[in-house]
């Protein structure tokens, strides 16, 4: 540093040149020193991960790393085998224990620009320190290790120190001592409660809580205060917002018209509840990845709602475009975003870098990307009802059981009767037409759903075949023929019937259906935003009492992957709705060319029906269509006699249960499709595929257990692989995130990147300790937060102790608590709170975004939301991708397109302009002023104190009061307001409060 300062002060360029030559000669002299005589600044034992690898990654791997496509000279230095292989010249690049025999050592010491490594044209060069590190490491045996974060964490016991509260302090103190730093004293109580309150709840402490804490002199006063904020419901609002940065939370899809993501806010509420209830982290991971597939659902104890499934909204928070000209590319982009967010969020890995080529730095081959791709390609998007409750599931089960009872009852009555021989029953002719060019995609005339997925509850697990149909007075009229029906358990229940994936090969798809307010859609390449101009024909309304032929022209998409979706209810601007009376029924689905073909019956005529067997099968839900037809003939001819009044009890009960269920609120969720193993896209192009598919799996380059074989997507296996206790990343990544949110910087600064390009941990042993503790104590996030907040390290004052600046200019070793600016939400929420304008209502649909004249463009909502967001906390304000709130953006809330575990902290004039001139801020100052003026029994000093307590969580110092009074009086004088009216003048106090909002202390955690 000094050198450059001196250097910069010299203006004569010739002199500069001379000095450079001088320094260079000193430097080059040191190149030729004996390499065995290591400087004392080198570590005693050179560690591959912490000392050598950073050099290799930055300076060597671009040409000698894991990516074969950019490898030079057939040499790779990322593996032991590669680096120690015999070179052409008979030497080894690295000869462990023998720096003198290692080609690497020779090449990095060359002066000749044609031979030196790295080559000059790479713009990279090694410092002497780096050369020494490499040499000493080879000298010590050149031990390779897997990347540090891929090695399981292990405990390294720290030395115990006197002033430690817990182990964190021991680990921290170790470095403090070795770096010769001085610890800052414990922060004052005012600072501590403000710090804890903001970091745990995102709000400043109220004056009342502040005073309680100041007055509490008990030994555990701090812990009580911490517990209070941990149990405050505002805690969930703060920590949910952190997680929303990680999962690119937004409520619209962006692009041209910014369509809504239906029910996205349910995910926000889900997170708030989960953080408040301290749902274990491993459970949260599983719910977000596979909440729809869990064996044990987490039911909301208050309303019986299925919480687990809400987690899967995680997948639908991305962008979406209507009318993509290349429909496949739309799917590719969507899945790419999911892979990107999933791997960054839970594993701190940047797997999407491997979309086009093997990862340049991490052991992630392209095939690993496509093994994840298959998982998400096999995952389908589906509306899901929010209010599926534990009870609803029970009711459905009860209805099924009652229906079975009816069949068993009737069958037992009928079995004792005499029947005509089946040959006497009228045979139907077999009308098979030969000609037609068609193929059956689904046939529901039999008993089962022909391999289709029945999602939700409406369609049940089988067709209607053989269900008793009652007329007036509970008179049995017939048994139902086979069809898929969404009203098996009554109308108004959500369900969707979806075919297996198929490749479109014929011009048309036909669906034989009837229903009300229902739709059938052809989903091509998982594309959902079906509308004109291109895709409008892929959805058809079902509005018919009689069987109708729905004909879809899909000739334009031959060769594409597709499935058919049959669903009661409709989409309005891509938001799913289910009217009470909606239902849909379907007989069969075909693909065909030309005219609608004659579809043959599915009944068998090979042998006559034997009636007792038929009844027996019927009672067990396994009767064939021809058996049901035979039974129906007997019913029609009144050949069954007997009193069926007993079944009234059953059917009444069924009616009663059916009336109780209706799904009204939905979110855009996911559901499992059929397993698809993807091919590799050559150089990332979906138009150029590899020959073979790659099996679904998880990061074969890092984890050993990796092939998924499930019939569905494999998301459950993915979730399990992530929460596997053997996974070295999951816990480390999460405790590091928590640390980052509390201390302002992670132990690993690159919180979303634990790969080779990420930063190394400042305290690796502490990170491992915390990761194992987190795991061993049941993944409790609250417990981990409390543990960190209780440490002495967390409680230190922000003032930098003398002498530390030079040894630790960035405060990496935490001798003092880092000063930090509050986040956009905390600033806005604090303004509302101190002004007495905060509406603490939790949850619910978002408050529409306030639209300034600068927020223009397609998709702009017709109406603006309120300027102050109705006083609601920022987390409840709408997040429209194309109309993001300027105040949030300006104070660095990230644009929601990828994982942002760490926000930028910028310093731009727009921030000052907001606090100075934004009408919202000014209005809050006015409200606070009004409250202050209304406190009629307070004198000027006391009024100032109230403002300080509310905004800065402390009393004003005497000189601050003097300054304030001078300021207020001069304002009064300029406005010609007499002294005695000053205390009642709102304008004056507003100007003062507005000024306080503009103090740095108001937006910084001091």
């Amino acid at each position: 540093m000094k050198v450059s300062k001196v250097f910069n002060q010299i203006n004569n360029s010739y002199l500069k040149l001379l000095i450079w030559v001088f320094f260079l000669s000193i430097l080059s002299a040191s190149f030729h020193q004996c390499t065995q005589d290591y400087s004392s600044t080198l570590p005693k034992k050179v560690d591959f991960n912490f000392h050598v690898k950073p050099i290799l990654v930055q300076k060597c791997f671009l040409c000698h790393g894991p990516d074969p496509s950019s490898r030079e000279g057939d040499l790779r230095l990322d593996t032991f085998e590669g680096a120690t292989a015999l070179l052409e010249e008979g030497r080894k690049a690295i000869d462990p224990g023998h720096p003198g025999k290692s080609e690497v050592v020779k090449r990095i010491n060359y002066d000749d620009p044609n031979l030196v490594m790295p080559p000059p044209e790479s713009n990279l060069e090694l410092s002497q320190y780096e050369i020494d590190i490499l040499t000493k490491w080879i000298d010590q045996g050149a031990e390779w290790k897997p990347h540090w974060s891929f090695i399981p964490p292990k405990i390294t016991e720290p030395e115990k120190f006197n002033n430690s509260v817990n182990e964190i302090d021991d680990y921290i103190e170790e470095k403090i001592v070795s770096k010769k730093l001085n610890n800052a004293p414990t922060a004052g109580k005012n600072s501590l409660i403000r710090r804890v309150s903001y970091l745990l709840t995102g709000l400043p402490p109220t004056p009342k809580k502040l005073n309680n804490y100041l007055a509490d002199s008990s030994a555990n006063a701090y812990e009580k205060m911490v517990d209070h904020y941990l149990n405050d419901e505002a805690f969930g609002e703060r920590w949910a917002r952190h997680w929303m940065d990680i999962t690119r939370y937004a409520e619209t899809k962006g692009h041209e018209f910014d369509y809504s993501i239906s029910g996205a806010w349910q995910y926000r509420d889900y997170l708030i509840r989960a953080f408040n209830e301290d749902v274990p982290y491993d459970q949260l991971v599983k719910e977000q990845i596979a909440g729809d597939l869990l064996d044990t659902v987490r039911w909301n104890p208050e309303n019986g709602m299925n919480e687990s499934q809400l987690g899967t909204i995680f997948y639908t928070l991305g962008e979406g475009k209507h009318s993509p000209v290349d429909i496949k590319k739309e799917e590719v982009d969507r899945i790419d975003n999911i892979i990107d967010v999933t791997t960054k969020a839970f594993q701190g890995l940047t797997v999407s870098c491997a979309k086009c080529h093997d990862h340049k730095f991490d052991p992630v081959p392209t095939s690993d990307y496509y093994s994840l791709y298959g998982i998400f390609e096999s995952t389908r998007i589906s509306p899901q009802p929010t209010n599926v409750t534990y009870h609803q599931q029970k009711d459905i089960d009860a209805i099924s059981a009652l229906k079975d009872s009816i069949k068993i009852f009737l069958a037992s009555k009928w079995e004792n009767q005499k029947f005509p021989l089946s040959s006497e029953l009228k045979q139907m002719s077999n009308e098979v037409s030969e000609s037609s060019d068609f193929e059956i995609l689904g046939d529901f005339r039999g008993a089962n759903l022909d391999g289709w997925k029945s999602d939700g509850l409406a369609f049940g697990k089988r067709t209607t075949l053989g269900n008793p149909v009652f007329g007036k007075n509970s008179q049995l009229t017939n048994l139902s023929t086979g069809k898929a029906s969404s009203k098996t358990f009554g109308p108004g229940i959500f369900g969707a019937l979806r075919s297996p994936d198929f490749i479109i090969e014929k011009d048309f798809i036909g669906v034989k259906a009837l229903g009300k307010k229902a739709i059938v859609r052809i989903i091509i390449d998982n594309f959902q935003l079906i509308q004109d101009p291109i895709y409008g024909g892929l959805t058809k309304k079902v509005e018919a009492d009689e069987w109708t032929d729905l004909k879809f022209n899909v000739a334009a998409w031959k060769g594409h992957k597709a499935y058919v979706e049959i669903i009661p209810g409709q989409y309005n601007k891509h938001v799913y709705q289910l009217p009470k009376e909606a239902f849909v029924e379907a007989k069969y689905i075909i693909a065909f060319n030309g005219d609608w073909p004659q579809v043959p019956t599915n009944e068998s005529f090979e042998k006559p029906v034997e009636m007792n067997t038929a009844l027996e099968n019927w009672a067990q839900n396994s009767a064939s269509p021809e058996e049901i037809r035979a039974i129906n003939q007997l019913i029609a001819t009144n050949q069954f006699r007997g009193n069926y009044h007993q079944i009234n009890t059953y059917s009444n009960k069924i009616n009663q249960l059916q009336g109780q269920m209706q799904d009204t609120s939905f979110f855009e969720g996911i559901t499992d499709g059929f397993a698809i193993n993807s091919k590799i896209f050559i150089r990332g192009s979906h138009n150029e595929l590899s020959k073979n598919v790659v099996p679904r799996g998880f990061l074969s380059g890092i984890f050993s257990k990796n092939q998924f074989r499930s019939e569905g997507s494999g998301r459950m296996e993915l979730a399990n692989a992530i929460v596997d206790p053997e996974n070295p990343l999951t816990s480390r990544v999460m405790v590091n995130r928590i640390w980052h949110y509390l201390f302002g910087r992670g132990l690993v600064e690159t919180v979303d990147n634990f790969g080779l390009q990420g930063k190394l941990p400042s305290h690796p042993e502490l990170l491992d300790f915390l990761a194992l503790k987190f795991q061993n104590e049941g993944y409790s996030i609250k417990q981990m937060i409390k543990y960190m907040v209780m440490s002495q390290t967390f409680r230190r004052a922000v003032e930098v102790p003398d002498g530390n600046k030079s040894n630790d200019p960035d405060n990496l070793y935490l001798a003092n608590f880092p000063i930090r600016r509050l986040e956009s939400e905390a600033i806005r929420d604090a303004l509302l709170m101190v002004a007495g304008n905060l509406d603490e209502t939790m949850y619910g649909a978002p408050v529409p975004v306030y639209l300034t004249p600068f927020m223009q463009g397609r998709g702009r909502p017709y109406r603006s939301g309120p300027m102050d967001g109705n006083g609601r906390r920022s987390i409840y304000l709408e997040v429209r991708r194309n109309f993001l709130q300027p105040m949030m953006l300006t104070f660095d809330r990230p644009i929601p397109f990828s994982t942002f575990g760490k926000r930028n902290v910028t310093n731009v004039p727009a921030q000052s302009l907001i606090l100075m001139n934004d009408p919202f801020v000014e209005a809050q100052a006015g409200l606070l002023a009004q409250e202050i003026v209304n406190e009629k029994n307070l004198d000027i000093d006391e009024k100032i104190d109230v403002i300080y307590l509310r905004t800065l969580s402390r009393n004003a110092k005497s000189e601050e009061k003097e300054q304030a009074k001078v300021f207020i009086q001069s304002l009064a004088k300029n406005a010609e307001i007499p002294e005695q009216e000053l205390l009642e003048n709102t304008a004056i106090w507003k100007a003062y409060c507005h000024s306080i909002f503009n103090l740095k202390e108001f937006i910084y955690l001091i």
Binding site: H255, P853, L889, M916, I1006
Partner: protein, 482 residues
């Protein structure tokens, strides 16, 4: 210095940076908070800490200091403006499917081959053909390098807009203006380095076309609008001008004692100096938009006396653009005015819509080019005129044209550009490029090149890799450089 914490590579503090840059560049004025600290400065200060950004900026002597980006939102039809195709006249009304392979289109409503409703004439010494749509721009062709071979990766507006503005067709990446100020900073302490003049139409994709993405927020565009409040929150709300000053003095007094107590923390000090800058902007922005000092002749040149209110308003925007580059603002983008027929996106009624849009922008753009020349600003300003893609030579329905990412015309003029040149070629229908294809990445690379920046070296580390405006693509269009 090199031994210091290579594992964490701490960013250098603002104070140190200012100190270093002062010596390195000899002028603090170059360092503006709007462009934050330009790499050109930070590089000098501490090259090892920014090792992901190889090379010094400028990488070579810049031709251009500023860029004015005239965005023709919606996509101008090339065969109706700068790329005449006699064959369309001959085959008007015939089935395009019988002539060439027709790609999928945005509306899938492919009509017949459609001749241009406008006549072309050759202009200037170079004899460049221009249609009747642009009689004023036609008088400037000797200063214009026309590219007839522009292609895009996307046929949809939003993706194509993001692609043109950020080099990637999805939301969230830094806009080219942000990259430019990130690389070069601003030359004006009182104005932002990247300004968007909102003429009335924000392109599909919204203001995210102008965002800083993962670059620091200081690089995002400031959006200026015509009217009483040209920039968000720029006008003080205080009823008397003295009141704000009093408040700011008071705030500074209290803030300073905090700084003293905390022993000069960088972050807090920077936040304080931000207020000074914000305060100066409050006067510099109104001064900027105050045209009283401009002569009638100048205003007339820009078409501000036109009967067409859209010509007037776009003229004012063009004049404002000149005033911005005059003041050292690096990157100025103009969006289109909202004429009756919406943007240049004529899926139907091509004649009416293109005429309205052309009439609004033609005279102001020609006025801008001439005014820049007469003031000596032309040699240091790069003017870029382009839409996000071209349009189809066949009709959509009967009288519109659909999106065509396979060919479009764009032009550049000013600093480092060879005038009177026609670069690239399309087929006989103007449907596809057959010679010297120019991608969006090439446009970016060329723009950066003229600013003295090697597009392969302007990088930012995000999401596990070094990211460039040009991704892994881009070639400087040598054929249009002077």
């Amino acid at each position: 210095m090199t031994n210091r914490n290579h594992a964490t590579g701490r960013p250098i503090s603002r104070r140190e940076m200012l100190g270093l840059c002062k010596g390195g560049f000899g002028s603090l004025a170059f360092v503006s908070l709007f462009g934050a600290l330009p790499i050109s400065c930070s590089k000098k200060a501490e090259s090892k800490l920014f090792s992901q950004i190889p090379g010094n900026i400028p990488h070579y002597a810049p031709k251009a200091k500023n860029v004015i980006f005239l965005y023709m939102d919606g996509g101008v039809s090339q065969v109706d403006s700068f790329d005449p195709k006699p064959r369309l006249e001959k085959e008007n009304g015939e089935d395009p499917n019988k002539k060439f392979k027709v790609d999928d289109t945005q509306f899938g409503n492919v009509g017949k081959i459609l001749k241009s409703p406008w006549k072309f004439k050759n202009y200037g010494e170079c004899g460049m053909p221009v249609s009747e749509l642009f009689p004023h721009i036609a008088t400037c062709v000797d200063d214009i390098a026309l590219v007839r071979s522009m292609v895009s990766d996307f046929p949809e507006h939003t993706n194509a807009n993001y692609f043109l503005h950020t080099g990637i067709g999805i939301q969230g990446r830094p806009s080219m203006g942000a990259w430019v100020t990130y690389g070069l900073g601003s030359e004006n302490d009182n104005l932002p380095g990247y300004v968007v003049l909102d003429g009335g139409l924000i392109p599909p994709g919204g203001v995210d076309n102008f965002n800083s993405g993962f670059l620091p927020a200081s690089h995002q565009a400031s959006i200026l609008r015509a009217g009483k409040v040209p920039l968000a929150n720029i006008n003080p709300l205080e009823e008397t001008p003295g009141l704000q000053n009093q408040k700011l003095d008071f705030i500074k007094q209290i803030d300073n004692s905090l700084v003293g107590k905390l022993k000069n923390p960088d972050a807090v000090e920077s936040a304080i100096s931000n207020y000074e800058l914000a305060y100066r902007m409050q006067s510099s922005v109104p001064e900027l938009t105050d045209f009283r000092g401009e002569t009638k002749a100048t205003k007339d040149l820009y078409g501000m006396n036109s009967d067409d209110p859209h010509t007037q308003s776009y003229g004012a925007q063009c004049l404002l653009a000149r005033r911005l580059v005059e003041r050292g603002v690096r990157f100025v983008e103009l969006t289109c005015p909202q004429v009756k027929a919406d943007r240049w996106d004529q899926h139907s009624d091509l004649k009416d819509g293109h005429e309205r849009n052309a009439h609004a922008v033609d005279q102001p753009i020609a006025g801008l080019l001439k005014d820049l020349k007469s003031r000596g600003l032309f040699e240091e300003t790069l003017v870029i005129w382009t839409g996000e893609f071209g349009r189809t030579p066949f009709a959509q329905g009967t009288n519109g044209r659909d999106h065509n990412p396979s060919a479009g015309s764009m032009w550049m003029a000013g600093a480092g550009i060879k005038g009177g040149v026609i670069y690239g070629k399309t087929d006989d229908y103007g449907y596809r490029v057959i010679e010297n294809k120019v991608t969006v990445h090439d446009i970016h690379a060329t723009m950066l090149h003229l600013l003295g920046v090697n597009h392969e070296k302007l990088r930012f580390h995000f999401g596990g890799r070094d990211i460039r405006l040009t991704d892994v693509h881009g070639n400087v269009i040598k054929g249009i450089l002077s």
